[in-house]
Symmetry: D2
Subunit: 397 residues, 4 copies
Amino acid sequence: MNKNTSLVSFPFKVEDVDVFVNNIRTAASLPVVNEVLCVGAEKNECYKKAQKKVMQDPCLKDKNITFKVQERLGSKRPGKGDGMNTALKYFVENSNCRRIHFYDADIKNFSYKWVLESERSANMGFDVVRHYFPRARTDAMITWMITKTGFSILFPDSQLPFIEQPLGGELLMEKKVAEKLISDKDVIIQSDWGIDTIYTYKMIKNRFSMYEAYMSEGKSHSLYPGLDSLESMLYECFCVIYNLKDKKKKIKHIKHRIEHASSVSNEVEHKLGFDIQKTLLLLKQGWTEKQFELLEFFPGEVRDNMKKNKEIPIFDFMDDAAWYKTYKTMLENFVQGDKDWRKLIFKLWVARVLWYTTNVALKGYDFSFMHLYRMIDNYARVSKNVETNDTFQAPEV
Amino acid sequence: MNKNTSLVSFPFKVEDVDVFVNNIRTAASLPVVNEVLCVGAEKNECYKKAQKKVMQDPCLKDKNITFKVQERLGSKRPGKGDGMNTALKYFVENSNCRRIHFYDADIKNFSYKWVLESERSANMGFDVVRHYFPRARTDAMITWMITKTGFSILFPDSQLPFIEQPLGGELLMEKKVAEKLISDKDVIIQSDWGIDTIYTYKMIKNRFSMYEAYMSEGKSHSLYPGLDSLESMLYECFCVIYNLKDKKKKIKHIKHRIEHASSVSNEVEHKLGFDIQKTLLLLKQGWTEKQFELLEFFPGEVRDNMKKNKEIPIFDFMDDAAWYKTYKTMLENFVQGDKDWRKLIFKLWVARVLWYTTNVALKGYDFSFMHLYRMIDNYARVSKNVETNDTFQAPEV
Amino acid sequence: MNKNTSLVSFPFKVEDVDVFVNNIRTAASLPVVNEVLCVGAEKNECYKKAQKKVMQDPCLKDKNITFKVQERLGSKRPGKGDGMNTALKYFVENSNCRRIHFYDADIKNFSYKWVLESERSANMGFDVVRHYFPRARTDAMITWMITKTGFSILFPDSQLPFIEQPLGGELLMEKKVAEKLISDKDVIIQSDWGIDTIYTYKMIKNRFSMYEAYMSEGKSHSLYPGLDSLESMLYECFCVIYNLKDKKKKIKHIKHRIEHASSVSNEVEHKLGFDIQKTLLLLKQGWTEKQFELLEFFPGEVRDNMKKNKEIPIFDFMDDAAWYKTYKTMLENFVQGDKDWRKLIFKLWVARVLWYTTNVALKGYDFSFMHLYRMIDNYARVSKNVETNDTFQAPEV
Amino acid sequence: MNKNTSLVSFPFKVEDVDVFVNNIRTAASLPVVNEVLCVGAEKNECYKKAQKKVMQDPCLKDKNITFKVQERLGSKRPGKGDGMNTALKYFVENSNCRRIHFYDADIKNFSYKWVLESERSANMGFDVVRHYFPRARTDAMITWMITKTGFSILFPDSQLPFIEQPLGGELLMEKKVAEKLISDKDVIIQSDWGIDTIYTYKMIKNRFSMYEAYMSEGKSHSLYPGLDSLESMLYECFCVIYNLKDKKKKIKHIKHRIEHASSVSNEVEHKLGFDIQKTLLLLKQGWTEKQFELLEFFPGEVRDNMKKNKEIPIFDFMDDAAWYKTYKTMLENFVQGDKDWRKLIFKLWVARVLWYTTNVALKGYDFSFMHLYRMIDNYARVSKNVETNDTFQAPEV
C-alpha cells in the first residue's frame, strides 16, 4: 500500500460534462491524489463525452484516470449503490492507494479544499471522514424525517441518529473500512439509493472512528431530483431502515468528532428546498382503495385526516408526536415491494413535510434546526422508554 | 388650553377588565396626563365592571377619569370609528388638555413609556406622533396588501405609502389636528374599521408634521380578530381606499421623521401571524355564480387560477405583479355594498397572503420586510408610469 | 438640454488604472450615459496611463470621454473639492446632458446597476439621488462623530442629521441642482475634503428633493486613507461644520425618501474599520503645552482624563454625554488654522472612537447602528432644549 | 441505594441569602430530590442567616436539608475544591440517594428545570450530565485560553478539548462516579479553583459516559469575580493543567452526547464579559526584574512585545500562533509556587484576551465562537504533529 496516496472516485450517470471534467481535473491535480476513478451507471453519451474530453486534455496525459461502467453487484434496483460498490471493489482489489474519496460528479463548486480538508482530518487518525454542509431549512427532508427519525427509533443509544448528514455522498475511508464494507453481504446487495444509509450504519456498527468536517461554502449541485426520483429515494431509504429493525440494538461508541458549524450565508438562509404549491397538490393524487385499507393500521387521527386528502389538502395534524406514531406503524406493518405502501408512505411523508414547513420552517432558520435536533433527541428518549410522547414540546428560545 | 397636559383615550368594547383598568391606572398616574377618557362601544358588562373598579379604587379617587358610551356620529357600520371620533369630539369640546393620546384598551404590556415616548417626540415640535412596533413577518397583511398597496397606487408621490403602520391605533395629536379631523365630514362618517385609514390620509393631506416612534418591546394584545372580523376589517379598509381614488393626487410633503428600528427579539422573529392550514381551506368556501362572473373583470391568469379554487387551493400565481393588476382591477370595478365583491376580494387577498407566506415569509424575517418595502416602492414607480410591471424583481441580498 | 441623457464624472488622483478604466468602460457602455468626464487632481502617471488606455480601446472609440485636470477654483487646500467643482462647472457650461453622476474612480465592484438605480430614482422626480451602503460598524467614524453629530447640534429640526451618508461621494443631480451649487461662493471655495459636507448642506438648504438609494452589495474600494489623510479629512470636515454655526437654523422640509436597507452580508458584519492597537497608540502622540492649555476650555472630566493620555491610553470617559459637551466646546472655542487645535481635536475624536468601539461596537452589528441612530436623535433633542444630557441612555433591545 | 432519588448540593461562601434560600426551596420541592446539602466555606454570617431562614420556613419543615462546613480535605489553598469534595464524601458515605447534583448557590434564575433536565438525561443512561449555557463572547476567557487550550495541547486525541464548559459547576453524577472521584488522591488534594478541571479530567479518564445539556436561558449569577480572584482562578486552573502534563496521553473514547445549542438571546449577544479599559491598564502593572528574566524563555516576538508593556499597552502580537507557542513555553518552564511566574502568566493571558477581543470578538458573536472552536481544533492538530502552526487561519464565513 502506497502511504499517503488517495483514490478519488466520482460515481456518475447523466451530468454536465464540463462540470464533471473540471472536477476530475481538480482532483487529479493534487499531489495526494494518485488515481481518479469515474464509475458510470452506463456507457451513455455523458460517459463517452467525458472520457473523450479527459483523453484529449494534455494536462491529464500523465494522470491515472480510469473510466469504468458499474458492475451489477447488488440485488435491489440497479443504481447508485452498484456504482459506489464498484468503486470500493476496485479500490480494494486494484489500487494501492491508502484512502478512497467519494464525491458527486455534479458539484459545481468542487475545489481542492474538499479533498484536502478530508485528508487533514484523516491525518488526525480518523478512519472515516464525512463532509457536512449548511443546508436550506426545507432541504434534507428525507434525511430528517426518514433516516434520522428511523435511527433514533431503532438505535436510540447509538451515535447513528446524531450523525449530521447520514445520506451525504462526500466521504473518505481508510482501506480497512472499504475492505470491511465490500466483504459485507448487506452492503453488496444494496444497489439502489439505500447505499448511503447502509454505509453509515455499517461504519458505526463496525466501530470505525469518524470525523465530520464542515464545509461552510456548501454544496452547489445541478439537479434536484424530480418528484419521481424523490419517491424512489424516499422508499429505498426507508426500506434500509425497515430491514435494520431486527438488528441488535446495542452498538458500542466510537471516537467521533463533529466540526463546529459556522453561521450560514444569506443565500442558504433564504433558500427554499421545494415548491409548496406543487407539493400540496400531491396529497390528492393516486389514492386507491388499498391505501385506504392500509390507513386502518394507523392511529385514528392520522387515519381520519389522511383520508380527507382525497378531497382537500390536510396536513396540520402531522406534528412531531403524530409522525412518531406514524413511523412506528410503518415499521410494524410495512410490506416490502407493495406499491400501495410505497405510495402511502410518500403521502404520509408529504403531510409531515408540510406540517414542518408551515409550523416550524416558517419561524426562522435557526429555529428550524433547533426544532429538528430536539425532535431527534426526543424520539430517542421515547424509544428508550424513559419518556413518553407527551413530553414533546417546542424548543424554547 | 392647559399647556403641557394631555388626555389619554381608550376606545373599548369587550376587554379583559383587569388589563384595561391597569392601563387606566398607568395612564392616570402620570403627571402629564390630566384626564383619562374611556369610550365604550356600548354599556355592556365590561363597561360596568371597569367603571365600578375604577370608582372603587382609592388610588384613582382624585383622578379625572370619564366613562362614556360612543355617540352615533358616522354613517357606516357603527364601530371603532364612532368610538375614536367621540373621543376626538370630547377632547375638542370639553377638555382643556393640549394633546390627545389613543391606546387600545387591551395592550398587556402597556406602560408609562408609551405615553412618555409620545410626549418626548411631540415636544420636538411634531403635530402627530404615531407608535410603530416590530411585527411578525406574517402579521399586518391588511396593512401591506390593502392599505400600503392602495396608497402606493393612488398617491405614489406622497408620503402615504411609506408611513410605517398606517392602521396603527396608538397615536398622539396636538389639539389643532383633532380640530381639523373632527370638522371633516369624510372623517365623521367613517364609523367602522376604516377610521385609521382616513385619519392617516387626512393628517398627511392637511400637512401636519409627523414623528413615528419605535416601540421596541412590541405590542402584546389579547385578541386576534377571528376570521369574520378579518373579513369586515379587510373590506372596510379597502372601501376607504376605494373612496380616495378620485381625490387629487398631488400632496405636498411635510416634516416627517421615522425613528430607526432596532433588531427584533427572537419571540417576534419566530411568531406566526395566522394559521396556514385554516387559511388554505378558506379558498374553497362560499363561491357563487356571481363571483365567477366578477372574475371576468380580472386578467386571464388571475381569473383562471382563482376559479380552480372551488376545487383545490391554488395561490402560486398571485405574485407581486399579479397582485398589482388584481388591485387595479378591484379599484376600477368594485361596487360598494355588493356582497359577492366583498367575498371575492377576501379570497383574492387570501391567495395573495398565501403566495407571500410560501414564497417570501418562509425565506426569513429580514428578507420578508426587505421584500415588502421593495414591493411598495415598485408599486409606486409603476403607478407613476416611470416603470412597468416587468421590472418587479426579488430583492437581492 | 438633451432629455434623458447623463454625464458620469470620475474625480481621481492616483488609482489602480485597470479598475479605473474598467469603470469608465462600464459607464460609457450605457445608453443613458452620453458623456464620461474624468477629472484628475494633476497630470500624473495615472492620468496619462488611463487616458492612453482609453484612447487605444477600440470599444471606446465612438464614446464621448473627456480627461481634464481640475481647475484651481477654491481657496482651501487644493483637493477633492476642486475636482468635483470642476466637474460641476463643466457639466453646467459645456454639456447638454440633463443629469450628472459622481462616482469614485476606485470602486472595484462598480457596475451598470449603480448608474441605473440612480436614474430609476431620478425618474421618480427626485432632484438629487444619493447612494448609501451597508458599512462596517467601526467604519464611518467621521460621518457619525463629526458630521452627523454637528448637524444634529446645529440643525436639530432639519433633515440634515438624518441623511444616511452625508459624506458619500456617489450621487446624481439634475442640472438645476448643479447650477445652484456652482453659483454659490460657499461651494466654490471648498476645495478640500469639506466638499461633500457643503454639497449636502446646500442641497437641503435649497430644498432640492432627495432620494437615498440603498446599494446592498456595498462599495468595495482600494485605499483606506492612511492616518495622515484621516487627520486632514477629520479636520476639514469639522471646519465646514464650524463655519455653518452662524447660519440660520430654520430649514424647510423637502421631499426626502430613504430606501429601506436590507440585512447585511456576513462579510460586512465581520469587517473592522480600523486597527485598534495602532489607534490606541495615537493617544500618546504629539502632545504640546498649548494643547494642555486648550484642554482648559473643556469640562473637568474630559480635561483631566485627556491629560492622562500623555502617559497611558484613557478613553473610557468619552461616552455620548461627554462627547456632546466636548463637541459643543469645540464649536465654541475652536480657532481655524491653529495646529494645536487640529491635533487636539484629532485626539479627542480618537478617544471617542475607542469608547464607541469598546462599549458599543463590541456588542454587535445591529446594536451598534441602533446606538448611533439613537445618539443622533438624542443630540437633536438636547440641542433643541427639549431634553437634557441626562436622558441619554443605551437603547433597549 | 434509593433508586430514583437525588441529593442536590450547593457549595457556598458569601451569597445573597434570599437567592440562596430560594434555590434551596426550589430544589427541595421536587419529588426526585430526597436531600439538599449546603456546604459552607466557613460558618460566617451568610451560613447562619441561611440556616436560620431554612429552619424557620414552615414549608421546609419536613424536608431533608443539611448545613455543613466544608472539611479540610485537600492540600492546595482551601477553597471551592474542599467544598465540593466534602459534598461528594457526604454523598458517598452518608446518603442513600442515587445521584448527586451540584449547583452554584448564587444562580438567580435557578428553577426546577435545571434539576429535571439533568435527571431526564441521566435517565437515558449517562453517568455524568453537565449543563452548558450560552455565554457572552468575551466571557469564559480562562476556559478557552487556559483549560481548553491546555487540553488540546496535552490530549489532542481525547474528548477533553471538546467538552463545552469544562469549568462548569452545574453537574450531575451517578454514585459510581462520585465513589471513583472521592477515592482518587489527585482529586482530594485539589482544594482550590482547580477542582472543576480535575473532575472533568477524571471523568473522561475513567470513561464515564457524559451528556452535555444545553440550558438556553443561560445562567444569571450575582458576582463576577474581582480581578484578584480572577488571577487566583487563572493560576489555579493552569496549575492543574501543568500537573497533567506527564500523564499518559492515550484516553479511550466514551459515550458522549452534546445537546444542540439554540440561537442566543439579544441579551447574551450584546453582553460584555469584562471592562476593556481597566484590563488594558493591568498590562502595565507589577513588573519585576525577575519577570523580565522569565520572558527570556519565550519566543523573541512574545518576549520583546511583552517587555514594552511596562510603558504602553501592546497586545496585537498575541494571535493564535503566538499564544500556542506562549502556552508551550509556559508548560515547559513554569515553576509552581513562583510568584513572578504567576504574575507573568496573568499578564500574558491579559494580552491574549485583548488580542482576541479586538481582533475576533469585535467581528460578531457567531464569528467569535467559530474562531474559538477552530482554534482548539487547530491546536489539537499541531500538537499531534500532523500540522504546523503555519496552517492557522481565520475561519471562512
